[in-house]
């Protein structure tokens, strides 16, 4: 009796020991330096759908540099995992898919390798200036190669516009006039909604107006949220919400999906990736939508912003910087790779030449508009420059909370004070962490 007790206890102790051992074992990277004839194994954390099929093309053509895609849940969890691995000193992959707004945070944690000494630097001409700025942070270093972008455009229900005899808005004044007309014709219908859930959406519109929320000034950061461009955008939407001609409820709710399906949301200011969302959330309305450039502040200088998009970065734990940079360059600029990214992974490529060459046929949801990608391609050329700072997460969170209050209050003044609050919270967080802020 006692004996068996002891044995059980010993077994339990052994099991616990195994458990802890299991926790501490990690992947050990190959320490051997990259040699032209030596086979190199690279791991790549990414979440773009079907990316492994694009990588297979590379693996067939490059037997010496083998890339393994390790599927991630999405942008946020992948970054959290990477930061943990960097802190632990091991376990990070060679390459990671990083959203543009995450790059400063990752650089601050010393997670991303500088590629400016590799041939990847030569890809600058393949991308729009604004996109390139996001991966260099406006400095001399190069932290990632752009992969896809989300240039913002205006989607609208062509059938409803036609029925009401409305012209597609080319300026924000016309957008406001159309919003009024649509809401007047049907008090339950809106041209759009101001969503406090989607900080990236608002950032894209501020970018269009000429905002760049962070800046590097010598050894100090500057925060430029509470300035004219962003105030202009916030005031504009505040007026529309205050007048009741634009809805104030968040996007991506069951209510919003229903409104898209029933024609109560007549338009959507969104990005190049919208067809997938519309097909999923408002499938019944296929063929009724059309795309147009963003309404403009100054029609003579067309511009737009980005909503979403990501890049391919090499981590500081990679032992094969050159091989990884070579793969990242191929993936995002080689014509065959970009074409595969478009057709297999379904993204809108950042590579401008590749986008023009591979995006020829409109997505099925927009089969009524053969020049769909021509409109998007034109818009992508007008993406302005935008610098993200080391605490984008804090600023975006402040957007959620402050603009939720403003949207709920339906007061233009509340929209303007939300911008001020965003600025104060963002600056306060930087100062609290010990950053020098100018």
């Amino acid at each position: 009796m006692r004996k068996s007790f002891r044995r059980a206890a010993a077994a339990a102790v052994a099991a616990a020991a195994l458990l802890t051992a299991g926790c501490s074992s990690g992947t050990v990277s190959d320490p051997a330096a990259a040699n032209a004839n030596q086979k190199v194994e690279l791991t790549y954390w990414a979440w773009a759908p079907n990316l492994e099929k694009v990588v297979d093309i590379w693996n067939k053509a490059n037997p010496n540099i083998h890339v393994t895609v390790n599927k991630q849940d999405g942008g946020d969890p992948a970054v959290t995992k990477l930061l943990t691995a960097i802190k632990a000193g091991s376990g990070a992959p060679d390459l990671i898919q990083a959203e543009y707004q995450k790059i400063p945070t990752l650089v601050a944690a010393n997670a991303l390798a500088d590629l400016s000494a590799t041939p990847a630097k030569e890809t600058k001409g393949d991308f729009a200036a604004g996109v390139w700025n996001s991966v260099t942070l406006g400095g001399d270093a190069l932290y990632a190669i752009p992969q896809d972008t989300g240039p913002m455009v205006f989607y609208y229900r062509a059938d409803i516009f036609e029925k009401l005899g409305l012209a597609v808005p080319t300026t924000w004044d016309e957008y406001a006039a159309d919003a009024k007309a649509i809401h007047k014709a049907d008090p339950t219908a809106y041209l759009g909604t101001f969503s406090s859930n989607d900080a990236g959406w608002f950032t894209g519109m501020a970018q269009q107006a000429g905002a760049s929320w962070w800046g590097i000034d010598g050894d100090a950061w500057s925060v430029k949220v509470d300035q004219e461009p962003t105030q202009k955008v916030a005031g504009y939407w505040g007026t529309l919400v205050q007048d009741g001609v634009i809805d104030n409820k968040p996007m991506y709710t069951p209510e919003w999906n229903t409104a898209l399906n029933t024609g109560k949301q007549v338009g959507w200011l969104s990005a190049a990736w919208a067809p997938g969302v519309l097909a999923g959330n408002a499938g019944a309305t296929a063929g009724k939508w059309k795309v147009a450039p963003m309404p403009q502040w100054d029609a003579s200088k067309p511009s737009t912003g980005n909503w979403g998009g990501s890049s391919t970065a090499v981590t500081t734990q990679s032992k094969h910087l050159d091989a990884a940079a070579k793969f990242a360059t191929w993936l995002n600029t080689d014509p065959a790779a970009v074409a595969a990214l478009v057709n297999v992974a379904g993204i809108y490529p950042a590579d401008t030449a590749g986008a023009a060459a591979s995006l020829t046929k409109a997505p099925a949801f927009f089969s009524n508009q053969p020049d769909f990608y021509k409109v998007i391609g034109e818009a992508a050329k007008g993406v302005g420059s935008f610098t993200y700072g080391p605490n984008v997460n804090v600023a975006f969170n402040a957007y959620n909370d402050q603009f939720a209050k403003a949207a709920q209050s339906k007061q233009k003044s509340a929209f303007l004070s939300a911008v001020t609050a965003m600025q104060d919270i963002t600056v306060g967080d930087l100062k609290k962490s010990g950053f020098t802020v100018k």
Partner: protein
């Protein structure tokens, strides 16, 4: 008697004919601690170590030099009690505590009152369909809070809610339950729906444990069912009412899933609505694990203090007859 023990040195000492002191050591120390080892090891690994690590983190902070970009520009330094001062003086934290206190003040009396009422009704001699009612009231407890919040969220959203549709048809103007003035009640309702069943089962079980002679004696004395419920049953099950109240208070202070799930549906809930949402936001949205750690410690200490205070106040009344 020969036994093999894990450590060879001790095994030699434990052989027959060893001095009494060694045998004593084996019986008093080795055997009990070996048996306790699995529990102790698991406790240390998964309870004590994380708690100590939280305490360590709560007195640290991030220090940045220059732009904070690149190797070695961000280091972890000792912060003393700075994080605690920040946590306690943060107006957002104070506001979240007040919101949760209001939420608890509405929820707990309603939930326990209903649970007690249902338990007494089920226990009364005249009730019919007891098994069915019991299951029906208990069932929502089996639905995870995230799922029930999604279900209720759909019912609250005016654009998709059948309740709003019916009210519209009847010509009534129904206010949105997700408006800032009503959203606390909307969350209370979800917690109430999920919580009444569990508390009812706890009370009902202790009612079933009451010896039936007491009821027979009461009936002989001409006691009505209502009198019996108020004068006999409620006082007897007071300890379990106190216990459910304590669990409810703790659950209230830790409310997280319901407001977090409802938040994206409307503009009325902030990411710091409840204290735990604030901790979550600091740790995982703002990447400030240090502030999150200090706020967690404050919440844990407050929960402990409130539970202790509550027990001190009600103990005399509820458990008086047991001492």
């Amino acid at each position: 008697m020969t036994t093999t023990v894990s450590r060879p040195g001790v095994a030699a000492a434990a052989a027959p004919g060893t001095p009494r002191r060694a045998r004593n050591f084996r019986a008093r120390v080795l055997v009990p601690y070996t048996m306790l080892a699995p529990g102790i090891i698991l406790f240390v690994l998964f309870m004590a170590a994380p708690i100590i690590y939280t305490l360590v983190l709560s007195v640290q902070k991030k220090k940045v030099t220059g732009l904070g970009l690149g190797k070695g520009s961000q280091t972890q330094v000792f912060a003393g009690l700075e994080n605690y001062v920040n946590s306690l003086t943060d107006p957002e934290f104070g506001a979240s505590v007040l919101r949760v206190l209001l939420y608890g003040a509405i929820l707990i009396p309603l939930m326990l009152g209903l649970a007690l009422l249902f338990a007494l009704l089920l226990d009364s001699r005249r009730s019919r369909g007891g098994a069915f009612s019991r299951t029906a009231i208990f069932l929502p407890y089996a639905v995870p809070a995230v799922i029930s919040s999604l279900l209720w969220g759909f019912l609250y959203l005016p654009g998709v809610s059948p309740l709003h549709y019916l009210a519209d048809r009847a010509g009534l103007a129904m206010p949105s339950l997700l408006d800032p003035s009503l959203v606390t009640f909307a969350i209370c309702n979800i917690a109430l729906w999920g919580g009444v069943g569990f508390n009812m089962i706890v009370m009902y079980t202790s009612l079933k444990a009451v010896p039936s002679e007491i009821y027979e004696a009461a009936r002989l004395d001409g006691c009505s069912e209502v009198q019996m419920a108020l004068r006999i049953k409620v006082p007897i099950i007071a300890p379990s009412v106190v216990m459910t109240a304590l669990f409810s208070i703790i659950a209230t202070l830790q409310v997280f899933a319901e407001p977090t799930t409802l938040r994206p549906l409307a503009n009325s809930l902030s990411t710091s609505w409840s204290p735990l949402m604030l901790v979550y936001r600091d740790a995982f949205t703002r990447n400030d694990i240090f502030s999150a750690a200090s706020t967690s410690v404050v919440i844990a200490a407050a929960t402990f203090a409130i539970s202790f205070l509550f027990l001190r106040i009600v103990q005399k009344r509820a458990f008086g007859q047991e001492n």
